[in-house]
Symmetry: C2
Subunit: 412 residues, 2 copies
């Protein structure tokens, strides 16, 4: 399904200086070690953790009878999406027509665009995809009459495109603020000549207050049931119901998996994206696995960055060679984990703290007496995978010994 | 000097769905309008502002007899670096050997790596470049004896590579904390068999307190003079003295341009990067042009992002289709400037404010009664160009009417 035709070229910053262009599928054979054969800073994806996380999420979805359309925006990597599909994912989620186009170029189907699409170019692409591949749906959201009107106008009779009515919550992001509003938007969809109503959607991940999370999920269910009672789904084989980031999918399953009486099956689709790599920050704290779901093994962190200590200008300060161009900083700074010395010794980065980032530098507070030295490599965990992936064009995949066993590309 | 061979491919998110691959040098002929022919969100570079800023900075450097090696890390775009060189820049600055390698692939020389380089791969590349192109120097910094030792060890007699001793300040980033320390490091360089001392460096931009800025620049001058007195530059044709981001280059010129008595010319090199695009945030506030230098015209903002209004879920809230994946947020959020309606009308985005970003969404507070509508485009100014460029693989260059007259690529 995924073409592995991409070459890493000489401009991929982590490729060894001497390597020149290396086809993606030949990286594994290069015999590289991430810490000695690649120019720092190096971001690595740990294969063992990826496998574990793919497996846990696939088993969770099977156990609850829900489908998975992992949010592709997290990684924007066809190679990682391919692994998610191989592990049993039903489809993929995208944030925009441009992202959907990338995944479609790698033959992914179905695709849920978890957004309103009102730009004429995006709609033209979606209509064209429907004409070229009627068997491979691309869905999107609507949350207003005006959006329905703009879509109708732009599509001018092409389609009809499948859409989901989005449920939101007061003080939240997009989405209808009440079941009543959702019903009005659904009615507008049903009147339009270019759209058809495929189900309902919400994204509960914009809030973290449990009552609000439960509230929007409950409203989403209520909207779906109200629409079914109105006959809005009478012509459907199945009704699509989708929600779920990587923080509250246990609540999504609680509210939406099962118990439906719609006169036809409900396909409940989780859209979690960050479960794949997990993290050393927000998702470590928020993930249901191992926490609110103690019967499930915790996810494992698949992502680490290694940077070189450039300078030890003051006794308690180290300046390390990664920065805002290399790592996430929106939901917490990198967390020092390991030190690898020039002689290959590895130890814990105990007591160290990244307290500031410049574009290309990290400021690390070092405990008194620690012999962290210029030339050492500092390995750090990261928070929020989405804003790490978008900083790299290609990322090596490593085994437990940090040997490079493959690579993925990103397409931002 | 710069090869314009790069094709924009179908995975460049702003390319129209129908366009497929478009060679970079054919973008101008496509007849695209940024607001109607490209998938939103769209980041644009305004050609008129780029020209103005290139011209102002070039004139400033000529007027003060200083050279310019603009920091290429800002844009990581060979096409923009080419314009800086055409406008008279002496060379380019890079943050790492990997960045230097990119610029060298586009035949740029000289290159100042404004960092310590102690990784064996980076040093191997630098030594190789010196062997392949002895006429095209790549310089880097040193701020410790240990760094000199590691470089000597890794180079194993290759070279010698030209290095600059870095001056820093207490509580700052890298760099020697005193003239005395700088002299010790310089002495280590002079003893090494793989390095030669080409001059001194500091980066005053890590601090914004005027006394600290003046302090580190004064120390840099003092170090250079002390080294000259010791005979450290006796074999040089010219001594390189470099400093200067985009916030304090007036102070750099005040302290370092002219008045040298080194027995040979001093080449004073500014390394400003952000002057090229300027911004609607930190650099608008900090730029000396038009502020502390009232005799010079202010720079013009060359960068704007346009996003589509997806949703108006509450009377004072608009959700717009750009987010952390598209714009900077580290030194201030995007600033709404213009609204372009579906019918092409344009107006000021008066009273609107971006108050939150998610990965792919902006939350915009809208004044009471404002008719900003789903389907409108919101144009915003941005703060901190560096963390905008790193989010795009290619960026259209537009004329004053937002017609696309070219494009640049970035290589992060």
């Amino acid at each position: 399904m995924i073409a592995a035709h991409d070459a890493l070229d000489q401009r991929d910053r982590w490729v060894p200086p001497s390597a020149g262009s290396v086809p993606l599928d030949r990286v594994a054979g290069m015999g590289w070690h991430a810490l000695t054969d690649l120019m720092p800073p190096v971001l690595v994806l740990k294969d063992g953790a990826l496998r574990h996380n793919l497996d846990v999420m696939a088993r969770f979805c099977r156990a609850h009878g829900v489908s998975l359309a992992p949010h592709g925006k997290t990684t924007m990597s066809p190679q990682l999406v391919a692994r998610q599909l191989e592990a049993g994912a039903w489809g993929v989620t995208a944030a925009s027509p441009a992202q959907a186009r990338l995944f479609r170029a790698f033959a992914v189907s179905p695709i849920v665009i978890a957004n309103q699409v009102v730009d004429p170019l995006g709609l033209d692409w979606m209509a064209g995809e429907l004409e070229r591949h009627p068997e491979a749906p691309v869905l999107c959201l609507v949350d207003s009459d005006r959006a329905v009107g703009l879509m109708d106008e732009a599509l001018a009779g092409r389609g009809p495109l499948p859409v989901l009515v989005e449920m939101g919550l007061a003080g939240g992001r997009t989405g209808c603020r009440s079941v009543e509003e959702g019903r009005r938007v659904a009615a507008a969809v049903r009147r339009s000549r270019s759209l058809w109503l495929a189900g309902v959607e919400c994204f509960e991940g914009v809030v973290h207050d449990p009552e609000q999370v439960d509230g929007v999920l409950g409203e989403t269910r209520a909207l779906c049931e109200a629409l079914a009672r109105e006959g809005a789904f009478d012509e459907l084989d199945e009704v699509l119901v989708t929600a779920g980031g990587s923080a509250h999918f246990d609540r999504v399953v609680h509210h939406l998996a099962g118990g439906w009486e719609l006169g036809r099956p409900a396909r409940v689709v989780l859209r979690s994206g960050c479960y794949l790599t997990h993290d050393h920050g927000d998702y470590e704290r928020l993930s249901p696995f191992g926490g609110r779901l103690p019967e499930w093994e915790p996810l494992r962190q698949a992502m680490e960055v290694w940077g070189l200590v450039h300078s030890r200008p003051e006794p308690d300060l180290a300046i390390v060679g990664f920065g805002k161009r290399d790592v996430s900083y929106d939901l917490g700074l990198p967390r020092p984990l390991h030190v690898s010395s020039r002689d290959g010794r590895r130890r814990d980065a105990e007591g160290m703290e990244v307290f500031r980032l410049n574009d290309q530098h990290a400021y690390v507070r070092v405990p008194p007496g620690d012999d962290l030295a210029v030339g050492d490599l500092l390995g750090c965990g990261l928070s929020h995978p989405c804003t790490v992936f978008d900083k790299w064009r290609s990322i090596p995949v490593v085994d437990d010994g940090d040997r490079v066993i493959g690579a993925i590309r990103t397409y931002f």
